[in-house]
């Protein structure tokens, strides 16, 4: 760079820089610069010297000098060709939306599963198909009263050769993957939600890490400046203001005197030559010491007064300004301004007194602290103020609200309203100090008491339409800042020229404008007053403004600002879900404790739940699930864990239900039994090796669950070493006549047993039923010596701890052994046998007939040790519960009832659980009624659950 007058330095950029920072650059400066370059430009040899040469032209005080040096260095640094490479663009934020969507889906499906699972577990009903063929049945025979019956004793000789056909593997049901892997499925059901939870937690941690790191490294400040092009201060155009400045500029009498020569001479001549001195009081330009009451950083009244003082200063008045907060004994210096400013220090009032003794003192703002709070009189220290000769108070209190305090103030000060009219009046009073008529004033009402729930209507009537709109606009931002207030007001009243002074003052007298914030509860109704177009305009303006005013990275202020932007954006988004969600995500990243400012607004936003979950959750549970109860945040981890556990439970339930369903759809062994294959010789029976005890030949591995094992029945040819003595067992059967009876119970028989209703007529064909429950001896004889699952061991005891499947297995083996058809009773047959023609709760005296809760002593008892019922059946009540062959359905009775009379009903066609009738040794008397029904899954085992046999045919 050369310094050549024909080739001036490229200073334009620097000038623009300077001007932006408040330097005054007039024609004068340019001329001086040119002149300077012409004269000494040739001797300049370094940038440093250019700087020190140029600086005196532009700077007019110390701050400007420093600023100039800084700007110049900056300018040179930027102009250097080898500028630093611009920082790499910030990495794009990770895509979060898809994750979020995923999460939402996961939640909803988990909930759906949860609901389904719960419903299933609660009722044990999982009917997929309902409805049987609507059978038109022929007329049913009438009820045949029972008659005494004699027992048919079936003697079965075991160890009979099993016909070749039976040793062939029975048709094995097609392998079912789900049933084969039930444990894997169950594990998965539990593990998956927990795994999902762990992953989600990990992902959340990963996503929140930057936010957390930021949060940990955060530092003050808590606020950041929002710089706006200041609105033009219009009040100085008012004639009142001009009148006031004229008055305030008038010279003031000084405290020393000059010899007034002309008058001295005149007086001397008059005194005939004797010297008579005449003096004249010197005058000086008045200087003002303005103390402004500032309650908060955003005290609008103080700002108004400050602007007033600025305007006066601009108009050439000498104004020294200090701020005080209520009590002027300590005064704070105004911030230094680069354009005009000397830096001032905070001062005690006494210091001010020493420094500015001849100034005219004007207290602008409330003088409440000048008075003793108890006595209401002047505080003692106020004597300090009386040191100033001219002292005035410009009070923000509206004239009609003046009370004793203002009257008292009037004794020591010139008290006037803080309006322009008051200022003009003050200027007059300096000239004519003795005037004491009440100040000409406005007639504004005092503001409503906003302390206790002021209503929107009250505000409206107090402020008037324009100022009210203004206020509404101010409510959009959580803080009231003067420049923002002006801009927002302008947006709310685009057509009006602005507020007139009276309206402005009505606004400023609201205490909110001193504190710098409108309470949230009134903000919301105020915001809604504006029409949507303006609302949108204001929000857009706020977002733009906030985005243009960055806060330092890593400060509390930066988060505060992000929150503000996010809130405005979310608000602006309205029903646009995507935009809204995007904005809310911003908020979500902030730690919940940060919601200091716009808490209520966020709550309001939260009224439209952000997620489906929030929509589903009752309000009172939200607090449990979300931090602060706000659905815009992610779910608490505790809640998420609970969800995961519940989902695991639900999935487990669902799996279980599914397995049962599959189970239910497996082909059942025919209830009528296989057609007995004709055997060449049924008797005599030569001793033959029994199928047991080789494990491979174990007919039914009783100890283990699952029908999958049941298919592994006798395979292979019995070896010679398995020979066993012939064993005979007796099975006593009672033939019952067919008949028609009322099945089920009336609704009022027991409060909780509506599964036993409605009562319906059922006709059963004749059949034989076991006189006793199947004993362990019988079981062992059929299933093998070592295959006794019972918990209470004893040959005479009924077999228990057998599942429905095993009972079926027992029947089919017995059928194959004997060639006769054995099966479990149908539910109808059982109840028919139990009722013996009765319709009451019990067919006989329960205590005499049954081993049940009251008398069993907590165990099973040998069969036949209690009295039988009238048909000679023992233990039909009590001892152990009995499996029936039917599937269970709660609504089955209703369906039967619709048919009129059901003939030999065999239970619903589908269902995953099986009927249990009768009651066990632990049951209560209620459960032992003839009509009681129970149900359980076919793999269920229980030490109070056995069965009884039925045989049909010859």
């Amino acid at each position: 760079m050369t310094t050549n007058e024909h080739n001036p330095l490229p200073f334009d950029g620097l000038f623009a820089h300077l001007q932006a920072r408040g330097f005054v650059l007039g024609v004068d400066q340019h001329l001086r610069l040119q002149l300077l370059l012409a004269r000494i430009g040739a001797e300049v040899c370094s940038f440093e010297q250019v700087k020190t040469l140029l600086c005196p032209l532009f700077a007019t005080n110390r701050e400007q000098q420093r600023e100039f040096h800084r700007l110049f260095d900056q300018f040179i640094a930027v102009s250097e060709p080898e500028a630093e490479p611009s920082p790499a663009p910030e990495p794009a934020p990770p895509a979060r939306r898809s994750w979020r969507r995923f999460r939402l889906t996961a939640y909803s499906s988990a909930i759906a599963l949860l609901l389904a699972g719960t419903a299933l577990v609660a009722t044990e009903r999982f009917r997929l198909l309902a409805g049987l063929d609507q059978l038109r049945l022929p007329d049913v025979p009438e009820w045949i009263p029972p008659r005494p019956i004699q027992t048919v004793i079936e003697t079965i000789t075991l160890g009979i050769p099993i016909p070749q056909e039976i040793t062939q593997p029975r048709p094995v049901p097609p392998p079912d993957w789900a049933l084969d892997h039930r444990w894997t499925l169950r594990m998965l059901a539990v593990a998956l939600p927990l795994l999902a939870f762990a992953l989600w937690q990990l992902w959340r941690w990963w996503r929140r890490r930057p936010a957390v790191e930021r949060a940990q490294g955060r530092r003050p400040p808590f606020t950041w400046p929002i710089e706006l092009e200041p609105e033009e201060w219009r009040l100085d155009r008012s004639p009142l203001y001009r009148q006031a400045t004229r008055g305030l500029r008038r010279r003031q009498r000084d405290d020393f005197e000059h010899l007034d020569v002309p008058r001295t001479i005149e007086a001397t001549i008059e005194a005939r030559g004797y010297l008579r001195f005449r003096y004249r009081r010197a005058s000086r330009v008045p200087e003002y010491l303005v103390l402004i009451d500032r309650a908060s950083r955003h005290d609008h009244q103080a700002r108004y007064f400050e602007l007033l003082a600025d305007a006066l200063e601009r108009d050439g008045l000498f104004v020294v300004r200090y701020f005080y907060d209520g009590d002027p004994r300590v005064c704070h210096a105004p911030p230094p301004k680069p354009a005009t400013g000397n830096r001032q220090r905070d001062r005690y009032l006494t210091e001010l007194q020493r420094r500015y003794p001849g100034h005219r003192l004007i207290l602008m703002g409330s003088a409440a602290k000048l008075f003793d709070p108890v006595s209401g009189d002047y505080a003692r220290w106020t004597e300090l103020l009386t040191e100033w000769e001219d002292r005035a108070v410009l009070t923000p209190v509206a004239l009609p609200a003046w009370r004793r305090r203002e009257r008292l103030l009037g004794e020591a000060f010139t008290v006037l309203p803080g309006t322009l009219a008051g200022l003009a009046e003050l200027a007059e009073r300096y000239e004519l100090p003795l005037r004491d008529d009440p100040p000409s004033g406005e007639t504004a009402d005092p503001p409503p008491d906003v302390g206790y729930g002021v209503t929107v209507e009250e505000l409206k009537s107090y402020l008037g339409p324009d100022a009210f709109q203004w206020l509404c606009a101010c409510a959009f931002y959580p803080e009231l800042q003067w420049d923002l207030t002006q801009k927002l007001g302008r947006l709310a009243l685009p057509e009006a020229a602005g507020l007139d002074e009276a309206a402005l003052w009505r606004l400023l007298r609201l205490p909110w404008f001193r504190e710098g914030a409108i309470p949230d509860e009134i903000r919301y109704p105020l915001v809604r007053v504006l029409d949507p177009g303006r609302r949108r305009a204001i929000r857009e303006f706020l977002i733009q403004t906030l985005e243009e005013n960055p806060a330092d990275v890593g400060t509390f202020a930066a988060d505060e600002r992000r929150l503000d932007i996010a809130v405005q954006k979310a608000w602006l988004a309205g029903d646009d879900r995507a935009a809204r969600r995007k904005a809310l995500e911003e908020i979500e990243d902030l730690p919940p404790g940060e919601l200091t400012r716009d808490y209520t607004i966020i709550r309001l936003l939260d009224e439209k739940p952000a997620t489906l979950l929030a929509l589903l959750l009752p309000r009172r549970f939200r607090k449990l699930v979300y931090p602060e109860g706000l659905s815009i945040y992610s779910v608490r981890w505790q809640a998420a864990l609970a969800f995961a556990l519940m989902a695991a439970l639900a999935l487990l339930g669902g799996t279980q239900a599914y397995l049962h369903y599959r189970e239910g759809h497996r082909p059942l062994p025919d209830i009528a039994g296989p057609t007995p294959t004709p055997r060449p010789d049924l008797s005599p029976i030569p001793p033959r090796p029994s199928p047991s005890p080789s494990p491979t030949q174990t007919p039914l591995p009783v100890g283990r669950a699952g029908p999958t094992q049941t298919v592994m029945v006798p395979m292979g040819t019995p070896g010679p070493e398995q020979s066993k003595p012939v064993q005979q067992i007796r099975i006593e059967m009672v033939p019952l006549p067919g008949g028609t009876f009322l099945m089920g119970s009336v609704r009022d028989e027991s409060l909780n047993y509506d599964i036993e209703s409605p009562q319906h007529r059922v006709t059963v064909s004749p059949f034989l039923i076991g006189k006793y429950e199947v004993t362990q001896a019988q079981w062992k004889a059929v299933m093998g010596e070592k295959n006794n699952p019972s918990r209470f061991q004893g040959d005479d005891l009924p077999v228990e701890y057998v599942s429905w499947n095993e009972a079926q297995e027992f029947c089919s083996i017995l059928t194959k052994m004997t060639g006769k058809t054995w099966r479990l009773p149908t539910e109808a047959e059982w109840e028919y046998a139990a009722r013996v023609g009765t319709t009451g709760q019990y067919a006989g005296n329960l205590d005499a007939m049954a081993w049940y809760g009251k008398n069993s002593g907590g165990r099973t008892h040998p069969v036949g040790t209690m009295r039988p019922n009238r048909w000679g059946l023992h233990d039909i009540y009590g001892n152990v519960g009995e499996w029936c062959g039917d599937r269970y359905s709660r609504s089955y009775y209703g369906e039967l009832q619709k048919q009129g009379v059901a003939i030999d009903p065999r239970g619903p066609a589908n269902g995953s659980v099986r009927v249990i009738r009768g009651c066990g040794w632990g049951s209560s008397d209620v459960d032992c009624r003839s009509a009681s029904r129970g149900s359980w899954t076919p793999i269920h085992r229980d030490d109070a659950l056995g069965f009884r046999l039925v045989r049909v045919g010859p």
């Binding site: 001086r32 004269r39 005080n61 110390r62 010899l259 000086r284 005009t340 000397n342």
Partner: protein, 308 residues
């Protein structure tokens, strides 16, 4: 510069110690322009003011050598000593150029009857007036001169604005005689204004000035200033000066009502040198504390310095 003599301290017990009071060694050398060193920024600002023919307005803490600059400038330009006008709170614009002693005039007119009274006798020309007169075309030996208007911020508010035109045009009229003086532009007086920047000067005034704020010198510059301005014993120079400067910097960081400036530092260093005091010397901290009187300007500050 001057012969080193052992400085005799007042003990305060009434005992006569010397034969006669030791001769006072004047501190005038403190203000000797020969030893003045202008920092580069100030030098450039002066050059700008010279090039543009505008007054140079200097601000800065008291004691940073604002006033001395005028002497240094006058000396360098070879115009002798600067013409000084000390502004007073009652000064008015006219006082910068001349004063009219109306009272003596009146007295003489009344009581001295011999012949006409030359009104010129009662007019005393002040710094700026003298400077203009010396530069007048009519003057026999036209010279440029350096005018120092010291502490302009002390003046009433009106003064700076009132003298604007006169300073710009370098002419004034004596109302009493009706005579107008105008400086030859080529012999334009060089005006240096100083201010303690306590009050704002009007913008119009500032615009017509070349401004420079003298920052408080850093340690190296202080050492340079000391080397130029005071003659110190070699021992002190070598060993005790640096700790003294360090202590001085510490003191300037204290919350004092008035910060000690270069002038105070020079005086203090001199005292330390004379007393042979090392500020680090633990045994003589009482004396060191006593020497702070050279730095402190009021009791509070003194206490703070002694404490801190």
């Amino acid at each position: 510069m001057t012969e080193q003599t052992q400085f005799q301290l007042y003990v305060g017990d009434g005992t006569t110690r010397g034969v006669a009071a030791p001769l006072f060694e004047p501190l005038a050398s403190l203000n000797d322009p020969a030893g003045y060193v202008a920092e580069p920024g100030l030098r450039d600002a002066v050059n700008v003011a010279l090039a543009l023919g505008q007054p140079l307005l200097l601000t800065g803490e008291p004691g940073t050598g604002k006033t001395q600059l005028a002497g240094s400038l006058a000396r360098e330009l070879g115009v002798g000593t600067p013409l000084v006008f000390n502004v007073k709170t009652t000064s008015i614009a006219r006082d910068l150029f001349y004063r009219y002693d109306s009272l003596t005039h009146f007295h003489d007119a009344q009581f001295r009857k011999e012949g006409g009274i030359e009104i010129e006798t009662y007019i005393a020309y002040e710094a700026l007036g003298l400077a203009v007169m010396r530069a007048e075309e009519k003057a026999e030996t036209r010279t440029r001169s350096v005018v120092l208007i010291d502490e302009i911020d002390k003046a009433p508010r009106d003064l700076p604005n009132d003298v604007l035109n006169e300073i710009e045009a370098m002419e004034f009229t004596v109302r009493e005689t009706g005579k107008t003086f105008r400086a030859d532009p080529r012999y334009r007086p060089i005006v240096v204004l100083t201010s303690n920047s306590e009050k704002n000067l009007p913008d119009a005034f500032l615009r017509r000035c070349v401004f420079y704020h003298i920052e408080f010198p850093d340690k190296d510059r202080l050492r340079e200033i000391i080397a130029r301005r005071v003659t110190l014993s070699d021992v002190f120079q070598a060993e005790m000066l640096d700790p003294a400067l360090a202590r001085f910097e510490e003191i300037r960081k204290l919350p004092l009502g008035k910060l000690p400036a270069t002038a105070e530092l020079l005086a203090w260093v001199r005292i330390l040198d004379r007393l042979g005091l090392d500020v680090r010397d633990a045994g003589r901290q009482g004396e060191v504390a006593a020497s702070y009187t050279a730095l402190a300007k009021n009791d509070d500050d003194l206490k703070r310095m002694r404490k801190g």
